[in-house]
């Protein structure tokens, strides 16, 4: 997965617990033993990450399929 995912619209989204606006943060995502550092909208304070719909059924799904076929 590319390190940067372009055009993620996070306008208006805040972490409910920390009441912080989401920012693009490099986070570690894992699947089937493989890890990647990706910039995703996250809460800068608690680190909870949001996966928007277009990502879940776009790039993320492609990578999931690739790893499942490994």
């Amino acid at each position: 997965m590319d390190r940067k995912i372009p055009d993620i619209d996070i306008t208006g989204w805040h972490c409910h617990k920390c009441q912080q606006p989401l920012t693009m943060v490099s986070v570690k995502v894992t699947y089937m033993g493989a890890s990647f550092d990706v910039e995703l909208p996250s809460c800068a304070k608690c680190g909870t990450t949001m996966i928007p719909e277009f990502l879940a059924f776009g790039k993320m799904l492609d990578v999931e399929k690739l790893l499942e076929d490994k």
Partner: protein, 779 residues
């Protein structure tokens, strides 16, 4: 997987075998490919092919007698394709590339005579650096000089080419045994060109025995003598070319110390195993070219278009899967095999293995019975055994199976008021999911008419078998067997063709009978319907003639106005559900559904409920056979879509409660509803269906959010967003709460990757029924 399994399938698929024109040609000219290049308007490309198989094509292209015309499949459909005409056009409209000179060898060959056989030998040998000395016994050219249409310049140019390659010419002294002996002393080999009328084999001392040519190596029984055939053979020029070419191969082998006759059988004309279906071909007469020795481009195009481009399309014609992956069984099997044995790297053919519907129509239409389905089944099992089956492939289908067999859904009851069943009605999980009310009527009818019929609602295990999971399959089969033994081994009445296949394969000890067989012998439960229907057999009934017959027997009585399409019975097409392909590759499965209904007119009737529901989903009004027998409002039912995934689960829960209450007076409430009012807009259901997200998944996320609060909120839209990872999937729900406290769902999605805040890895996909049961199979 043993390599023999691969070879067995590869050997049965003859897609790569040559067309009959090529196999019968003494030179094995690839006529089909040459025609293809001509149709593409590329005579230069056609020339390259011709040069490869026909030495000295600039000359021989004029001389081919067209042996292929004897076997051409066009022969009885307007007359054979005129390959000699096409070849002449190719050589008249292209140039051959002059061969690259090879370093000269010390091997010298002599030819007595100078007709086509020795010319081809010289052409082939000199390309490899060996030189031929022609001993002229008469006019140079031998029998070629008799072909009056052959332009003189063509022959002269051929001789010039041979000279330029280092071949030489001598005038032969009087032909005698001594002359032959002298040549044999001075040369590695001698070709006696009997195609030259001036060659006198008797004078050379060659007996009839000496002239008995080895058909493969073109050798005489006498050492170091090779023979080109006399003019009296069936195809004087073609056979002379084959002799020159064959002798050159023999000599080259001898020079390299290899046996000249090893594995050369396919150099002779042979019977191809390629089978071509010409049933739909319209006869088409050829045009007569104004000048057959110089045909025009238009005349050539017209003739080339008559070529059938012979190939075996039997399985490709009927299988969207084979067409989609652009394969044929032989190519396919190799790809899948390589995929299975890959130690490291991407298994890019997983999707080919998991998308197959295992319907076996390809095997049925294959002229050689190539069995792709069995190969796929083995491949899937191997993927499971080596832990290489993608987890996502069959996960939903297996969860659905576990849900259908969960204690609050599945049940067995002996006949009301009895402790043991004489027969057990086993409708199957999908019929229960789609037709709970109709099944209540069916069971009531059966029990009233027969008595002693128990009811067993469960999944037979077919999805586990389709997915290649042997252990899970065995566990489910054992559970069914246990009920059977506890009831003194009664006959099972099966309503689902896939259940019938499963029982035959996994529970052969249980005697089964189809519901249609039983119903056809009972008093009629229904009135005759006047509807004009098209019957569609399910692929699961392909080899079950009895099942097909009994379904027809009922239809003949209750909806006699029905038709059968061409793809019926053994040729039944899969609706797209088989082999779990619909879960793995929904767009491809939809192609199957559309393909199956394409040839049907009017409303359809099926006796597999998944067929019925998929046909309706693809837009065709459809009925299930049970609808005709037990329902009255058929015009409404045929338009009614099948239940969605959530409704299927709910219907199974409902069937248990309705049946237990109606026949055994047992009260059992439906599972507790979600304590929150959740509103899912109509347009979101299609998305959820596609993503295999159930209402209960959404409910679980909302219940979690209601207790702990959402993860995110959007200050601009007022929406909240939260997730839950109950197993290896994270579900996201975007929603808002209205003033009445209702949860209005705006969007739902899911993914399998783990991100911070998505509750860890989630439960691994378990491999056993207990494992699935432990994680719920539901949220």
């Amino acid at each position: 997987m043993e390599k023999e399994v691969l070879l067995a399938l590869e050997n049965r698929c003859t897609y790569e075998e040559p067309p009959v024109c090529q196999s019968f040609c003494p030179l094995h000219v690839d006529a089909r490919a040459i025609v293809q290049r001509l149709l593409e308007g590329k005579p230069a490309e056609a020339r390259k092919l011709l040069d490869r198989q026909m030495p000295l094509a600039q000359l021989t292209g004029w001389l081919c007698e067209g042996a292929c015309k004897e076997r051409c499949l066009r022969r009885d459909l307007g007359s054979s394709v005129n390959m000699p005409l096409l070849e002449r056009y190719v050589i008249q409209n292209s140039k051959s590339v002059k061969p690259f000179p090879m370093p000269a060898s010390t091997n010298k060959i002599a030819a007595i005579g100078s007709s086509l056989g020795s010319m081809i030998l010289a052409s082939e040998m000199s390309r490899k650096g060996h030189k031929v000395t022609f001993y002229l016994t008469g006019p140079q050219g031998g029998s070629l000089l008799k072909v009056k249409e052959l332009p003189e310049t063509v022959l002269t140019e051929a001789w010039d080419l041979l000279s330029s390659l280092g071949n030489s010419f001598e005038t032969a002294p009087a032909q005698s045994p001594e002359f032959l002996a002298e040549l044999l002393d001075n040369y590695r080999a001698v070709m006696v060109d009997q195609g030259d009328p001036s060659v006198n084999t008797q004078a050379l001392g060659l007996t009839d025995e000496d002239l008995a040519t080895d058909p493969l190596t073109k050798e005489s029984p006498r050492a170091n003598i090779f023979l080109a055939p006399p003019e009296s053979v069936a195809w004087p020029f073609l056979e002379a070319m084959a002799a020159g070419k064959g002798a050159a191969i023999s000599l080259d082998r001898i020079f390299q110390g290899v046996k000249p006759n090893l594995a050369r059988e396919k150099e002779l004309p042979f019977a191809t195993t390629l089978v071509v279906d010409t049933a739909q071909v319209t006869p088409q007469e050829p045009l007569t070219p104004a000048n057959p020795w110089e045909p025009s481009a238009e005349e050539i195009k017209a003739e080339a278009e008559r070529c059938l481009q012979c190939s075996c399309q039997a399985c490709l014609n009927v299988c969207p899967h084979l067409r989609h992956f652009k394969g044929y069984p032989k190519k396919y099997a190799r790809e899948m095999y390589n995929n299975i044995i890959t130690a490291y790297g991407i298994r890019s053919s997983n999707i080919i293995i998991t998308s197959c519907l295992e319907c076996d129509l390809c095997k049925e239409v294959c002229p050689h019975g190539a069995d792709v389905g069995s190969f796929i089944r083995l491949a899937r099992k191997e993927m499971i055994d080596t832990n290489h089956m993608p987890a996502a492939a069959h996960e939903y289908a297996l969860e659905d199976l576990v849900s259908a067999n969960a204690p609050d859904t599945s049940f067995f009851r002996p006949p009301p008021g009895q402790t043991q069943a004489e027969r057990i009605f086993f409708p199957g999980c999908q019929l229960v999911a789609s037709r709970p009310e109709t099944l209540l009527k069916t069971y009531e009818h059966l029990n009233k008419a027969l008595g002693g019929v128990g009811l067993f609602s469960s999944c037979c295990g077919a999805p586990a078998r389709w997915s290649g999971r042997g252990q899970l399959t065995g566990q489910i089969a054992s559970a069914i067997q246990k009920v059977w033994r506890e009831n003194a081994e009664p006959t099972f009445i099966l309503a689902c063709p896939s259940c019938q296949l499963f029982f035959a394969a996994e529970l052969p000890e249980i005697k089964v009978v189809s519901l249609w067989d039983v119903l056809s012998q009972l008093p009629p439960p229904a009135k005759v319907s006047p509807l004009a229907l098209t019957l569609r057999d399910p692929c699961a009934a392909r080899y079950d003639e009895n099942l097909q017959k009994n379904a027809r027997r009922l239809l003949t009585v209750f909806a006699p106005n029905f038709k059968e399409p061409h793809f019926s019975g053994r040729l039944a097409k899969c609706c797209g559900y088989g082999g779990l392909g619909g879960h793995v590759n929904p767009p491809l499965a939809l192609e199957f559904t559309q393909d199956a209904i394409a040839e049907s007119q009017g409303p359809l009737v099926a006796y597999c409920v998944m067929c019925r529901d998929r046909y309706r989903q693809a837009g065709a009004p459809s009925l299930h056979l049970l609808d005709i027998l037990f329902e009255t409002n058929l015009n409404d039912i045929m338009e009614r879509p099948g239940p969605n995934l959530t409704q299927r689960r709910d219907n199974r829960l409902l069937f248990r409660r309705l049946a237990l209450n109606a026949f055994w007076r047992e009260e059992e409430p439906m599972p507790s509803p979600c304590p929150y009012e959740i509103v899912i807009p109509e347009e979101l259901w299609a998305k959820m269906e596609k993503r295999r997200i159930l209402r209960r998944d959404v409910e679980a996320v909302i219940e979690s959010a209601a207790q702990t609060g959402p993860l995110f909120f959007n200050q601009d839209t007022g929406h909240s967003l939260t997730n839950l990872r109950p197993r290896q999937v994270t579900f996201w729900v975007e929603y808002e709460q209205d003033p009445a406290g209702r949860y209005l769902i705006h969007d739902v999605w899911c993914h399998r990757m783990v991100v911070p805040g998505s509750s860890g890895e989630g439960a691994e996909s378990p491999a056993t029924l207990e494992g699935y049961a432990r994680t719920g199979g539901r949220v």
